[in-house]
Structures are given as C-alpha cells and as structure tokens.
C-alpha cells in the first residue's frame, strides 16, 4: 500500500500507520491543511475501480472535502446548535427504497471502516472516550478484530453491502423521525421535504463541531442551495447519519468531524446508493428471541425470592447466565443453556452461603419452562402473521 505523502498527523498519514481497534484509534490532528497529500477521493478512485458503482459519484465531490473542511477557523466557530435541521441534504425519497449504506474510509483503501490515528505527539497519550461518532463509518462487522495492517479477510470485502451500521434510521424511521425519546438532546425533526440530514449527537457531546457534507444527486431538490456542492453542518457531535433517498436517486454524503480538543476523529465517507443491490423493502423473516422477549421472565421470580430473599437475585442470576454462556462460548466450550443456568444458580447461592437442593433446581427449570407470554405477544404475533410476515 503506497503511503500518501503528507505531514505527520495529517489525514493522509493514516494509511501508513497501524490500524487498531476503533476505540484505540480515531484520533488525529485535523487542524490545518494537509499539504501535499493526494486527494483522498482520488486515492479511492484507484481503489477497486471496477467494483464500485458509486465511484463516479464520489469523484464528483470536491476532494477538499476529505480534509474535512476542518480548518482552524472551523474549530473556532461557535456552535450554531440546531443547524442540522436547517440543512438540506440529498434528495429525499421514498424511504422504503432499498437503501444500501456503505461506509468507506478514504485513506484506508481496502477497509471500509473508520480510521484515525494519533496525530503528532498524540500517539501515546491517553485518549478521551470519543463515544460513537468516530465509528460512524464502520461497515465491517469484524472491524475490531481486524489485523492492524494485514490483509483483510475476504469476508470483510464481501460484506459492506450488508452492513447494518447506517441503516437503522434509514430503514426504521420512515417518517424521518429520530428516536428522540432515547436521545432527547439530539432531536432534529425532519423538515417536510428535507432531502437528507445528519442527525448528530454524542454522549461525549460538544466535542465535534463541524460536519462537512457534500452530495451529488441526479435528482437534487431544486430549492436546495447546496445542490451539487458541499456545506458544513455545525453540530455538537455526530453519532448518526439519517437520510432518506429515493428510488433511483443516488447521492453521496461525506462527513468530517473535528473535535474541539483538536483531536480529530478523522474523516469518514459514507456512500449511499438507493436502489442499489438488493432491496430492503421486502418483508423480512422475523426471528424471535424467546426468553423475556416473548415470555415473561418475572414468572421465575418466586423461586429466587424464596431461595435468596433478595429481589435482586433473579436479575443477578439471569445476568450471570448470559455472562457465563458468553464466557463459555468465547472459550469455545459448549454447555447447554439449562446447565449453565443451574451452575450459575449454585454459584450465586454459594456466594451467600446458601445451599441449592435438587428440588430448587427442578423448581427453577419448571418455572422457566412455564413462563407465560407477555400479554400483547399472542395478538401481536398473529397480527404480524396476518400481515404476511413469515414468523
């Protein structure tokens, strides 16, 4: 992999640095121009030219975007706060269209995942928790375990088209709404006719102060002054990208984020192509988890209350059951779930000097097998089935 020429700490510097897990990266200096670098979009252009139907679109974006517009001036600008809702993005659309969202990193040619490395002098410093934003571009499920600089697995390159990473709000909020109840500070209600938006927030909020967005679209909204160009979204932080695209329209969105601390989370490029690949608009087959999802776990509570005389015991046990089923799985030891449950029960009891009898275990097993459904479940299941879902 040829390394772009650029000063240490500049964006293009990333390509020759080891890549680690996203939590350990995503920091680098963004301040200032990165002189002498190849425009990252051109780099990307060389990458997989024959496999990338969006490349032409990406190439239409001003390569400067890759520098994130994250200049010193940007970092000094006060936060407009609600700017997101005032900005229009790419052409809006039938949100039911099959969005295919991909994340690609400019400088990480074959790795569709966010990249960031420490800037000059920052490599060995403790890093602040950046929250989620720096992972926005994650498109590869095995991202965190990917070898730093080694070749990607074939699977990684096969999978970007199926990444769920950016789909939730495109797919799950057809009215363009954001789940404000969970992220109340992020509420950015969609304007009618808004063609795309960045919905931004971070639990490490107030760090990111600029987003730069560019798009190309062959169905641009006429009234959108940023059509075909680029514009900055000043936001407090960025966690999610939310957009709607129309069938047949294509647009590209690229984003950069700069942290006030002058530690950057780097530049992410997101490529969206609606109506590309397989559609997500067909009814999914619904696969249900059972315990607690469909059945009421509270039904086992009496056993725990009796044995432990502690209302917290039941949840402790269930948490331990999950923890140890995961631990055993990670350790590649398979033990049936029921046996794990029994062992966790005994372990929990032992920490409190309580002996578990066979009858106790049998009682728990019986209760576990007899949990009633949550009250709405039978009706909701049948309603889904009656609407054609395969359950």
């Amino acid at each position: 992999m040829p390394a772009p020429q650029g000063p240490p700490g500049a964006l293009g510097d990333q390509a020759r640095r080891p890549q680690h897990d996203g939590e350990d990266q995503g920091h680098q200096q963004l301040g200032g121009q990165a002189h002498g670098q190849q425009p990252p979009l051109q780099q990307r252009s060389r990458r997989r030219p024959d496999r990338d139907p969006l490349q032409g679109l990406l190439d239409q974006i001003d390569p400067n975007l890759d520098q994130g517009q994250a200049t010193g001036q940007a970092s000094q600008r006060p936060l407009p706060g609600s700017a997101v809702s005032e900005q229009a993005g790419p052409e809006l659309s039938d949100q039911r269209a099959g969005h295919r969202c991909q994340a690609a990193h400019h400088r990480d040619r074959d790795r569709r995942r966010p990249v960031g490395v420490p800037g000059r002098g920052q490599q060995h410093q403790p890093r602040p928790g950046l929250g989620y934003g720096h992972r926005i571009g994650k498109g590869v499920p095995d991202h965190s375990t990917a070898p730093a600089t080694g070749p990607r697995s074939a699977g990684a390159d096969r999978r970007p088209d199926t990444t769920p990473w950016l789909q939730p709000y495109a797919a799950g909020n057809p009215e363009g709404s954001f789940p404000t109840r969970y992220f109340p500070t992020l509420a950015r209600p969609s304007e009618p006719g808004l063609v795309g938006e960045l919905v931004a927030a971070d639990h490490a909020a107030s760090h990111i102060e600029e987003l730069t967005v560019a798009r190309t679209s062959n169905t641009s909204r006429q009234t959108d002054p940023s059509r075909g160009g680029q514009r900055s979204f000043a936001v407090e932080a960025c966690r999610y990208v939310h957009f709607r695209g129309s069938r047949g329209s294509r647009w590209t969105l690229a984003m950069s984020m700069e942290l006030r601390s002058s530690v950057s989370i780097g530049v992410e490029a997101f490529r969206f192509a609606t109506n590309e690949g397989r559609s997500m608009s067909s009814q999914p087959i619904i696969v249900f988890d059972v315990n607690e999802t469909l059945l009421d776990l509270e039904a086992i509570r009496p056993t725990f209350d009796r044995i432990f005389d502690d209302p917290a015991a039941m949840r402790l046990w269930f948490a331990g059951l999950i923890t140890y089923s995961e631990a055993l799985t990670l350790a590649e030891v398979y033990v049936p779930f029921t046996e794990i449950g029994g062992a966790v029960l005994r372990m929990l009891a032992a920490t409190r000097g309580i002996a578990i009898s066979d009858a106790d275990g049998a009682e728990l097993t019986e209760r576990f097998a007899s949990m009633p459904p949550h009250p709405e479940v039978p009706g909701a299941l049948r309603r889904l089935r009656d609407h054609g879902f395969r359950l």
């Binding site: 039911r96 067909s282 087959i285 249900f288 999802t293 309603r383 609407h387």
Partner: protein, 118 residues
C-alpha cells in the same frame, strides 16, 4: 421462527405452554448445530443459511441488546423491545426498530412493509 439459547425441547415446551407455538414456522436452537450461544455470529449465520435468505432479509426481535448487537453485526435487521428494566445501549450497531412491546414493533414493521407486500 424463533432462535434461542435454550434447547429445542425447552423452547418447545415454553412456547406450547404459552400458547403461541403455532404461529412459528420453525424453531432454531443454538443447541442443534452450532453449539455457540448468542451473540456468537455463527448462531445467526447458521439461521440465515438454514432459511436460505440473505442476512438482511431477516429481522431479529429481541429484548436484549446483546442479542440485537449480534444480529446486526451478522447483517440482520433487528428490533428491540424495551421490556421492563431494558434500555437502549447507545453504542454499537443500533436496532432498526425500537418499541415498548411487541405491539409497538409490529406496528412499525407493518407500517413499513405491509403496503408493499400487497
């Protein structure tokens, strides 16, 4: 379809006693083949393979984030039910649908997909 860490025997007993076993085409258990508990990717990949569909054409409905995380990372869609004591986990892949109960999730799924299915 169901996918559970429990054995098929137990999940069958559970769903039968709960009176909802009839709505499911098939039940999967990690105990059958993969012998890796959720959220191990193999569990989800195996179900997709058995169903012979693309991962993105499956939606897991669960009330545990460790489960929706596993499904989303395996390329599935996911819906999270916020049962009592459950709250969203705001890092990692986020569920496509979130609701307080299965009715709420069903509403979202029906609203999104039913018109197209007719």
């Amino acid at each position: 379809m169901t996918l559970t860490d429990n054995t098929l025997e137990i999940s069958g007993t559970q769903l039968e006693r709960a009176g909802v076993i009839d709505v499911f085409e098939r039940r999967f258990s990690v105990d059958e083949t993969v012998e890796r508990h959720k959220p191990a990717p193999e569990a989800y990949h195996w179900v997709a393979k058995e169903l012979e569909v693309d991962p993105q054409d499956i939606c897991l409905v669960a009330c545990h984030v460790w489960d929706t995380l596993g499904a989303l990372a395996a390329g599935w869609q996911a819906g999270l039910i916020l049962r009592q004591g459950i709250a969203p986990f705001d890092i990692g892949p986020q569920p496509n649908y979130v609701g307080d109960d299965l009715d709420a999730l069903a509403d979202q799924l029906i609203a999104r997909f039913h018109a197209e299915s007719r």
